[in-house]
């Protein structure tokens, strides 16, 4: 895809005015807020943002204040996909009829994991099936954080949340995280990618690709939450690196369904010995504290196995076969 990465040097990004402004009420160390700010650095021109109910929506638009320097719409929790559909078609037809200026206006939808994996998946799936031209950004902090850390379909196996509490009998969430980005690839949409705010340039370039691609694009961004994960607020970006280094959250893109590892993750494909054990990632977080007891330590091995299996599957998907090769 023809995106010049040179456009996004640290200098370029620093000089571009913010569109997601300071003064919002996100918690200290909130990675989703960083993710939104970085993604708004990827815009190419006039942009309309729509957002599902969630942390970032609540933290950024408490009337009469707003952190948004672009037109912004919130309607409900499960509706980011439908919002984007409505905005996109309205722009298209009004341009055609000469009711508004004939210029490119990009549409970005933001939603959290609850608004994407769970309640919003129908509207998202429908919007993608209809082929609306928009970028959908999932900022994944792995539970319903805004409402008090309840488990979602994006919460990982073993994590303790207020609705999957690690207790005497149940050791946290017993179900695996839904492979949402793969589900989106299965929609045969033109662009799907995963990203992490530690790799800020990779994130911004992917957001820009998603904006520029003709048709729907989906970006799954890893976004640590100190409150919900019981982590040190100063460690959010470090955690978003560790998730990639352990291959718990590998970075890849699928352009027209063709998987490709992104550079930060490619390193661990080429030099598997550099891949860090998952324990290093888990032990920094209070939500996994119970796994480091005698009772539950075998879950650590299970999690390591799950991570390894998923990583191997991804490597297979990313293995490129020359187009004319015979089997």
């Amino acid at each position: 895809m023809a995106i010049s990465e040179g456009k996004f040097t640290a200098k370029d990004i620093a000089e571009k005015p913010d569109l997601f402004l300071s003064g919002h009420r996100a918690c200290a160390g909130c990675a989703p807020a960083t993710v939104l700010r970085l993604i708004m650095k990827a815009t190419r021109g006039p942009t309309i943002v729509t957002e599902a109910t969630g942390c970032m929506e609540v933290a950024s638009t408490i009337y009469p204040y707003t952190s948004w320097a672009v037109p912004w719409l919130h309607t409900a929790f499960e509706t980011a996909g439908a919002n984007a559909s409505g905005i996109e078609v309205a722009l298209k037809i009004m341009k055609k009829k000469g009711k508004i200026k004939d210029e490119q206006v990009d549409v970005i939808a933001f939603a959290g994991d609850g608004g994407t994996f769970d309640i919003g998946i129908q509207a998202l799936s429908g919007a993608v099936e209809r082929g609306h031209d928009f970028l959908y950004v999932l900022y994944d902090n792995e539970a319903y954080m805004n409402t008090g850390i309840q488990r979602s379909g994006g919460t990982p196996y073993g994590a303790s949340t207020t609705t999957s509490q690690a207790g005497k009998v149940v050791p946290g969430k017993l179900e695996a995280k839904k492979p949402i980005a793969d589900i989106m690839v299965a929609h045969e949409m033109p662009y799907v990618a995963t990203a992490s705010p530690h790799y800020w340039k990779d994130l911004i370039v992917k957001a820009r690709k998603g904006i520029e691609v003709d048709g729907p694009a989906f970006l799954h961004v890893f976004a640590p939450c100190p409150r919900g994960w019981r982590t040190d607020p100063s460690k959010s970006i470090e955690l978003s690196r560790l998730a990639v280094e352990t291959c718990m959250f590998p970075l890849w893109e699928a352009v027209n369904g063709e998987y490709q590892l992104s550079i930060p993750s490619k390193l661990f494909a080429l030099a598997p010995q550099k891949k860090k054990p998952i324990k290093e990632y888990l032990q920094t977080q209070g939500r996994f504290r119970h796994l480091f007891t005698k009772e539950h330590e075998k879950m650590l091995d299970e999690i390591q196995q799950q991570v390894d299996q998923r990583w191997q599957r991804l490597l297979k998907k990313c293995a490129t076969t020359p187009p004319n090769a015979t089997q």
């Binding site: 309309i48 009337y63 719409l73 309607t75 559909s85 905005i87 309205a90 037809i93 508004i100």
Partner: protein, 410 residues
């Protein structure tokens, strides 16, 4: 009546009448889900789009919830928007109906009024829209396909009027109107276009002291649908109620303006009093049953019975004053409800009509008749019985049963 235009007579069912009026209204976006339960309104509109008869983006969403949401978002972007639904589909929209009215998005929606499950039933009654009476939408109910057509044209004007900026739903009785072929006079396309006009946008004041159009516009970034805490939420809701009050003036204005070009008016736009001037007994109803009742009233009048009908056209905002005025002189009134407010001691129309008359001196005796649920037919004979009950009530003043059920196995 010199301004009345020459009109074409078409055979249309209610659904087609909705679609035809929508076609003449330069709608920008239609987002709809066709099947909970199915109405042919969106099929017809899709056909217009496919044949290039309208310049509209048609979005076939994956549910009514998303349909209403896409409508709201398109409307917020400045587009003129239409959708249609019924029954379970409207119930699925419930959450979004409040968000749409709360965002002051002037979406117009036709509802082919039908029963709610369970048991599953796709036939006509008013359970679906009556359940949404507090959703902040203007509600207009229609008597025949002609009124359906005329009301849809007016609905865009009412919704988009700068003093209302509220969504409007037009109710047409499922099957009785939606699927029944009638003769409908349609005004010419250019007359309709002139009447409906282009969408006006409210002007909003920014913190910088600028005045900008209320829409999602990159030239004037605006945050729409924010969080409002207890310190501001209440004022938003109070403003919606004020807009509803304004609609009590706007709806009659549109009714009159439309009458000047079409020659057709529906009472004062809010209520239609039929042979009520000297009536001693009266029924109150909304929707297609008004047609049946008018026939019975005419028969009774030839027999010397002073019977009349009050048809409520606009249920939200509720025209309490107009209703009190015309019913005050009667002696006994039967309010007809085509839905049940379970446990509510009578139907919704009964509650509100009775309430409207509370402050009237010597107000009439009032009884409630629940009828026609799940598409059950209501015959002229049954209406005659109701008037018979009213004659007895007017004479004796004795209410046997306050809430009655028409044509039911007990």
């Amino acid at each position: 009546m010199k301004d009345v235009v020459k009109q074409e007579l078409l055979a249309l069912n209610g659904d087609e009448a909705v679609a035809y009026a929508t076609k003449q209204s330069d709608v920008d976006v239609i987002a709809a889900y066709p099947i909970t339960p199915q109405t042919i309104i969106v099929e017809k509109l899709s056909e217009y789009v496919s044949n290039g008869e309208i310049n509209t983006e048609f979005v076939c969403t994956e549910s009514e919830h998303s349909a209403m949401c896409a409508c709201l978002a398109a409307s917020a972007t400045g587009a003129r928007v239409f959708t249609a639904s019924a029954s379970a589909g409207l119930a699925l929209m419930h959450e979004m109906l409040f968000v749409t009215s709360g965002c002051r998005a002037p979406v117009v929606m036709a509802i082919a009024n039908r029963a709610l499950s369970a048991p599953l039933n796709i036939h006509g009654d008013h359970s679906d829209t009556m359940a949404e009476r507090d959703s902040g939408w203007i509600q207009i109910y229609t008597e025949n396909a002609q009124e359906v057509y005329d009301s849809v044209l007016q609905a865009f004007r009412i919704a988009e009027h700068l003093d209302t900026q509220l969504p409007v739903m037009i109710g047409l009785d499922g099957f009785t109107l939606s699927h029944t072929l009638e003769n409908v006079h349609v005004i010419p396309d250019d007359t309709a276009a002139r009447f409906v006009g282009t969408r006006q946008l409210t002007q909003a004041f920014t913190h910088e002291g600028k005045t900008v159009p209320y829409k999602l516009d990159p030239a004037n970034p605006m945050t729409m649908g924010p969080v409002a805490m207890p310190n501001y939420y209440f004022e938003f809701k109070r403003q919606q109620e004020e807009a509803m009050k304004n609609a009590l003036k706007i709806i009659p204005e549109m009714n009159e303006e439309y009458a000047r070009i079409s020659g057709r008016r529906y009472g004062d736009g809010l209520v239609e009093a039929y042979r009520l001037d000297d009536a001693e007994i009266a029924t109150v109803c909304l929707g297609s049953t008004a047609g049946t009742i008018k026939t019975v009233v005419d028969e009774l009048r030839t027999e010397g019975v002073k019977a009349g009908l009050l048809k409520i056209r606009t249920f939200r905002p509720f025209p309490a004053q107009a209703i009190a005025q015309v019913l005050a002189r009667t002696r006994a009134v039967a309010v007809m409800d085509r839905s049940i407010s379970f446990g509510g001691n009578g139907g919704a129309i009964f509650h509100e009509t009775r309430h409207a008359l509370y402050e009237t001196a010597n107000h009439p005796h009032m009884v409630n008749y629940i009828y026609g649920l799940g598409g059950r037919d209501t015959s002229p004979t049954q209406i005659r019985h109701i008037f018979g009950d009213l004659q007895a009530l007017a004479k004796t003043g004795k209410i046997e049963e306050k809430v009655n059920y028409v044509g039911i196995r007990e």
